[in-house]
Amino acid sequence: MNGGSGAVESSAAAVNTRALSVEAPRSVPTPTSSPVKTDGEDVADLPPLYHFPPFFTRQPNSETLSGQLGSWGSLILEWCRRRRVFVVSATAEECGKVPFRNTAIDRALKPAFLREILEGMCSRGEAEWLDGGEKKKGSGRGAGSAAGQDRCLMLWRTADAWADMLDKHIDESGAQGQVLTLYELTDGSRGSSANELKDLDPLILRRAIEVLAKRGKAHLMRGPDGEDSGVKFY
């Protein structure tokens, strides 16, 4: 068993304790005690699955896979909601960042798998491809794409909810009757009640305005070349 025990030990040592301390199988303990900061981000609010190494590997069992895709979708959506992230890209660069990578256990999503996860989110209405990103499916594993082909808009709040926020902000800032540019709405210059709208993705802002327009509370104005030039609120 001499050669064998060596293999077991080195294999076990490669498994990080932090990964196993939260609802994951036991392992030979390795000395790690301080809370882990990955890439300067606090990962404390991520679910225990995040610390489970196989979670970053696309599971071959189809039932297991479908649960895994759902778990990743929830994780990503919640991450984006907490940190006000609006766009996720299915690229190698993105996969080098938290939460698609866990440096503590040295695991990361592959771009193709992230793409598959995002596809699932889109089919559940949790996200939406920008610039027709889904057309890349099957055309190669996410490599060498044109800019914008891999970007996915995160819909962690519905357009209706955004519209409500916009409405509330307009009321609070007394902007009825004014014409505002889209830029003004999101640049944070309009005081604290606009905080929720700061850096809001333009596409989402537009949708919120369209919802308000349907409610008769806003009117999106266009300039001579068809570009959005401003919004009037009622």
Partner: protein, 274 residues
């Protein structure tokens, strides 16, 4: 009584009939005595159950001891009817085989601990029925990620967390085992099995073969399994190791980690709604 003289006095049939009826009288007497004792005991047990009903409901350990006692005298605490004679605990042996048989007959016959009143006083049948449903629901939800095998301790913890949130008294691993035992009649695979040192609740009809059980035991000890681990430590040939691991992944019993130095296999994480 017909008196006959001579050889006729030893007519076997008549004597047999007389001795038989005498024997029956004796047996009946024993039966009646036992019955009286059982009924006394039944009343005492019912009184005990009623005065301790709260404790039985609320304290898993007390409940377990009470349930063990009930089982020992041939009463199913959950059904409050008699257990099938075969399952009456040998703690009831009187030293006489025929008397034991009589005891079991009494227990079976008389439906000791009268039904509804007992159930209402205790309410523990409710606990187990509700628990059984929760076990089914939880296992159904987690099956996709754990292949229908979950450690009894994990299941207990998960359900207790859920019960703490949504209402329900605390339950113990023993309660889970009893609830799962009741589910066996569904014949859908619910069973508690021993894998290594752990009690696992299985919720699918698929049996674990020896190799698979070994793999799960290795997972329990080391935390994960790899093909080389099986080959080097257990002396399996590569084909056998590969086959077992693939089969288990196919059955949803293992997750794959492809980013280690070699492919590693893990038991499913404890997932499932809480």
């Amino acid at each position: 009584m017909n008196r006959r003289a001579g050889l006729a006095a030893f007519d076997k049939d008549i004597s047999d009939a007389r001795f038989k009826s005498l024997g029956q009288d004796i047996v009946k007497q024993q039966y009646d005595e036992l019955l009286a004792q059982f009924e006394t005991f039944q009343q005492a047990l019912a009184a005990f159950a009623q005065s301790h009903a709260e404790e039985i409901r609320a304290d898993p350990q007390f409940r377990q001891q009470f349930a063990t006692m009930c089982t020992a005298i041939g009463i199913d605490p959950l059904l409050s009817t008699a257990l099938p004679p075969a399952s009456v605990h040998t703690g009831l042996t009187t030293g006489s085989a025929r008397l034991d048989k009589t005891v079991r007959a009494v227990v079976k016959d008389k439906k000791l601990v009268g039904g509804k009143a007992w159930q209402d006083a205790l309410g523990i049948a409710d606990i187990y029925n509700e628990l059984a449903v929760q076990v089914i629901e939880h296992c159904r939800r987690s099956r996709a990620s754990d292949g229908g095998m979950i450690a009894a301790t994990d299941l207990t913890a998960k359900l207790n967390a859920r019960r703490a949130k949504f209402g329900g008294v605390a339950i113990s691993e023993d309660d889970i085992e009893r609830a799962v035992a009741r589910l066996k009649v569904l014949e859908s695979g619910f069973e508690v099995i021993q894998v290594g040192s752990r009690r696992m609740v299985r919720s699918v009809p698929r049996e674990l073969d020896g190799d698979e059980a070994t793999v799960l035991e290795t997972c329990e000890i080391v935390g994960l399994v790899s093909r080389s681990m099986l080959v080097l430590n257990l002396g399996w040939d590569t084909g056998r190791a590969a086959q077992v691991l693939d089969d288990m992944v196919g059955a949803g019993l293992l997750w794959v980690d492809g980013q280690g130095r070699e492919v590693e296999y893990w038991q499913p994480p404890s997932v499932g709604a809480s």
